[in-house]
């Protein structure tokens, strides 16, 4: 090649043995992103995740809408975990505007958040199953997810994007007979979860495929700043619901699931075990919830925040999820910064995939509990 290259661009020199694979964005196993993977035979030499294909400028959009108008579009990054992604926003706005939330609304929020966590985790588990070529594990969670979607539909009226949590409480009260129905479905779901274990988590092929692959040590997990299930799979007992309880999580009876192995299997097992804890929280919240009362504090029309800034975080299905909101005496926020767990977990991916077989790529990738749309915001 004799033509001179444009300034600032240089040719990459690669070994003849190395083959570069573009996994994504048009690839059944990539999601809305690209992984630039270099392989030597079947071994991955390097991996360069390239997110950003679904960047929608949520943070910039939030600067042009007032605090209430921001609700529907801010849940778009993770539509199947919409209560959890709205939770820190509501907490932050309440602190900015100085709103008190009614006691019953706090419990309803916790129920909605845990139901939504189950919806998210089931969706994640379905994709994990099909990534490993287990078609039954795709169909079962996708089917059982409908139960929770029906519950949240009864609560909020929408099947996927609920916009149920609003600053000042929740949008509307629970329907009649909700508690009974919810408890019945949670009981059924726990039975189903045990069947998942029999067909998937105890499967010898799955265990031999994921155990000991993509090991993330405890120190590396902290150093790389991972959160959520990835952090807890590496033996760090860290859960915002316990460390920095918001709303009524301090009254709830549940435990943080921690595993020491730090491999793919542990990372896939932790979200599954957390669904049991979610069921416990839902039961507990329904028991302790005040049976009547207001669920929403009325806001003034077009409320203005003071000259203030606030950061609030919650534990979402993918880890720590935080909102940093700056206001400047206007009805719109001056700046909204969303800090998501997905993006933090993505950072450790090149370290995990180095030296692994290409066949381990799907399990390591999806075990990171990564949701591309959330990472791009």
């Amino acid at each position: 090649m004799t033509t001179p290259l444009p300034p600032g661009i240089q040719l990459e020199k690669v070994d003849d043995r190395i083959m570069t694979l573009n996994v994504g964005p048009q690839h059944p196993g990539s999601g809305h992103m690209r992984l630039i993977i270099k392989v030597d035979g079947d071994y991955i030499v390097s991996c360069d995740p390239d997110p950003g294909y679904v960047h929608r400028g949520e943070e910039k959009m939030a600067e042009y809408r007032n605090y209430i108008q921001n609700i529907p579009h801010l849940e778009r990054p993770v539509i199947h975990d919409s209560s959890n992604i709205l939770y820190p926003y509501c907490l932050a706005v309440e602190e900015l505007l100085g709103i008190e939330v009614p006691e019953r609304a706090k419990y309803i929020r916790v129920i909605a958040a845990e139901l939504n966590r189950c919806i998210y985790t089931l969706y994640w588990l379905a994709i994990y199953g099909i990534f490993l070529g287990h078609s039954t594990m795709f169909m079962w969670p996708a089917g059982d997810r409908e139960l929770f979607i029906d519950l949240l539909e009864a609560m909020s009226g929408a099947r996927v994007t609920h916009a149920y949590l609003v600053p000042g409480g929740v949008r509307n009260d629970l329907p009649a007979n909700f508690e009974e129905r919810c408890l019945r479905q949670v009981d059924y779901f726990e039975k189903r979860l045990k069947e998942y274990q029999a067909i998937f988590y105890k499967n010898p092929i799955l265990i031999s495929r994921t155990e000991g692959t993509g090991i993330l040590s405890r120190t590396d997990a902290i150093r790389l700043g991972t959160t959520g299930s990835v952090l807890r799979a590496s033996g760090v007992n860290y859960d915002i619901r316990k460390k920095e309880p918001y709303d009524v999580y301090e009254n709830m009876d549940f435990e943080t699931v921690v595993m020491k192995e730090g491999d793919s299997y542990a990372r896939s097992y932790i979200p599954y075990l957390e669904m049991f804890e979610s069921c416990r929280i839902i039961r507990d919240a329904i028991r302790k919830m005040p049976k009547s009362g207001s669920v929403r504090t009325k806001l003034k029309p077009n409320p203005k925040g003071g000259n203030d800034e606030v950061y609030k975080r919650v534990e979402s299905g993918r880890g720590e999820l935080g909102y940093y909101i700056v206001s400047n005496n206007r009805p719109e926020p001056y700046r909204v910064k969303i800090s998501v767990g997905s993006f933090r977990n993505l950072i450790c991916m090149p370290y995990l995939l180095k030296g692994e077989l290409l066949g381990n790529m799907p399990s390591v990738y999806w075990g990171l509990n990564y949701w591309p749309v959330e990472a791009d915001r």
């Binding site: 083959m19 079947d42 070529g133 039954t136």
Partner: protein
């Protein structure tokens, strides 16, 4: 569940049958008959038995069983019929299609789905035909940098090789397309073609995913071909023949799975690996390498590969039946053909018709086919059902399984077979002559 499956109703099914019959009759009388007469009008008719062969006369001959049955009977024993219809292609494709329908519904039941539902009147029974029709009507896209002749010929070779494999499987006594004395060697030779076709078409597509998939297919098939051949060696030692029909005849009293269970297990695992079925579907691992060596095939080229895969599936299941499950052997359950029909004819009301050429099939053949079909369908279902419970295996585990565990296991039964032979259990004067 949000999907509500309509219940199967017999009344609706019968109504739909009448519906179909009505339309067939209508189209036949409005379109079919005029076309026949138009054609006959332009053809100079011959004179047979001193009378002009009018279309009317031809139709009466067609309706006369004593004239048509001998023609059909001779047709049944032509090579053309053997290849196209009964022990060959048509039978294999039909059996595979029926089994795949059952498998789809069964898998759907495991996975809390309803499966194919709307295509065809009952339970989506025409779904496979619909899929085939879709594939035929789709555009065939050839990659710009593909090696076009090899790329084109790959699917055809695949179907051809699968068809050659099908032709070696004996279905009923005397009903086999090709019956060479070295039948088992011919089977090995045919199986040996598949990895070559995979690698050729993968290389010709000039795509990274097909390349990796083709290499995976090559690794997998070679790793599993050796235990496959070794596991069948014990059968050859026990029977002393390579002819598949003679191997079936040797199992009239005991099936070889009784004496060679380890071989049967090893052979079964190798079948799944050779067919690239779950859990050994690495060459088509979707989440890793898109669709492996099939990535660039589109339209009917992909359809041909699928057809070849189904034929291969049938052939392997048939081979398992022939070698281990006694082939067509089984208790006589098919009722004998009533002999007085041949001598006295059929009496329906006032009419008695004597029909030459009956029966069309003998009892042995029908009974043998029945048992062969039952056993083969069972084996096919066993091959397909791991899809519901297993995830995909990894390449290093796969190669370890093939090269270490299965080769070691397949030697066990060779020693058992030799022991049985020298102990006199088998062979002249033994349990089995």
């Amino acid at each position: 569940m949000s999907t509500i499956a309509p219940q199967f109703r017999l009344s609706r099914f019968i109504a739909s049958l009448f519906d179909i019959i009505f339309w067939v009759l209508l189209i036949f009388s409005l379109v079919g008959l005029p076309i026949v007469f138009i054609i006959l009008f332009y053809i100079k008719m011959p004179i047979v038995n001193h009378q002009l062969l009018t279309p009317y006369l031809a139709m009466t001959w067609m309706a006369d069983p004593s004239r048509t049955l001998p023609i059909i009977k001779t047709l049944l024993h032509t090579t053309f019929f053997h290849v196209v219809a009964f022990p060959g292609f048509g039978f294999a494709a039909l059996l595979a299609a029926a089994t795949i329908f059952v498998e789809r519904k069964f898998l759907a039941k495991i996975q809390l789905r309803v499966g194919p539902l709307y295509c065809g009147k009952i339970e989506g029974i025409l779904q496979l035909m619909g899929d085939g029709l879709k594939l035929i009507s789709k555009e065939i896209i050839i990659p710009a940098k593909a090696d076009k002749p090899i790329f084109w010929v790959g699917p055809l070779l695949f179907v051809g090789t699968a068809g050659a494999f099908v032709s070696l499987i004996p279905v009923a006594p005397g009903w086999v397309v090709a019956n060479p004395n070295v039948g088992l060697l011919a089977v090995f030779a045919t199986i040996g073609f598949f990895p070559i076709i995979s690698v050729l078409s993968a290389w010709a597509a000039n795509n990274k995913w097909t390349f990796i998939g083709g290499l995976r297919a090559l690794h997998q098939m070679i790793a599993f071909e050796i235990p496959l051949i070794l596991s069948l060696l014990s059968i050859v030692i026990m029977t002393g023949t390579l002819n598949l029909s003679q191997i079936v005849e040797s199992q009239q009293h005991y099936w070889w799975i009784v004496f060679a269970p380890v071989s049967a297990i090893v052979f079964f695992i190798c079948i799944i690996a050779e067919l690239e079925r779950v859990p050994f579907d690495l060459p088509e691992a979707e989440s890793e390498i898109v669709a492996g060596w099939l990535t660039e095939f589109s339209g009917m080229m992909y359809g041909l590969i699928q057809l070849g895969t189904y034929l291969k599936l049938y052939a392997f299941a048939g081979l398992f039946t022939v070698l281990f499950l006694g082939g067509w052997n089984g208790p006589m359950v098919w009722p004998a053909f009533p002999a007085d029909i041949v001598t006295q004819g059929i009496t329906i009301g006032p009419i008695t018709a004597k029909i030459a050429g009956l029966p069309l099939f003998d009892q042995d053949m029908l009974n043998g086919t029945l048992w062969f079909v039952i056993k083969t369908v069972g084996v096919i279902l066993l091959i397909l059902l791991p899809r519901g419970v297993f995830p995909r295996i990894r390449i290093d585990m796969l190669l370890h399984t093939g090269w270490y565990k299965l080769i070691g296991l397949s030697f066990i039964n060779i020693f058992i077979a030799l022991g049985l032979l020298y102990a006199g259990v088998l062979g002249p004067g033994g349990l089995i002559q």
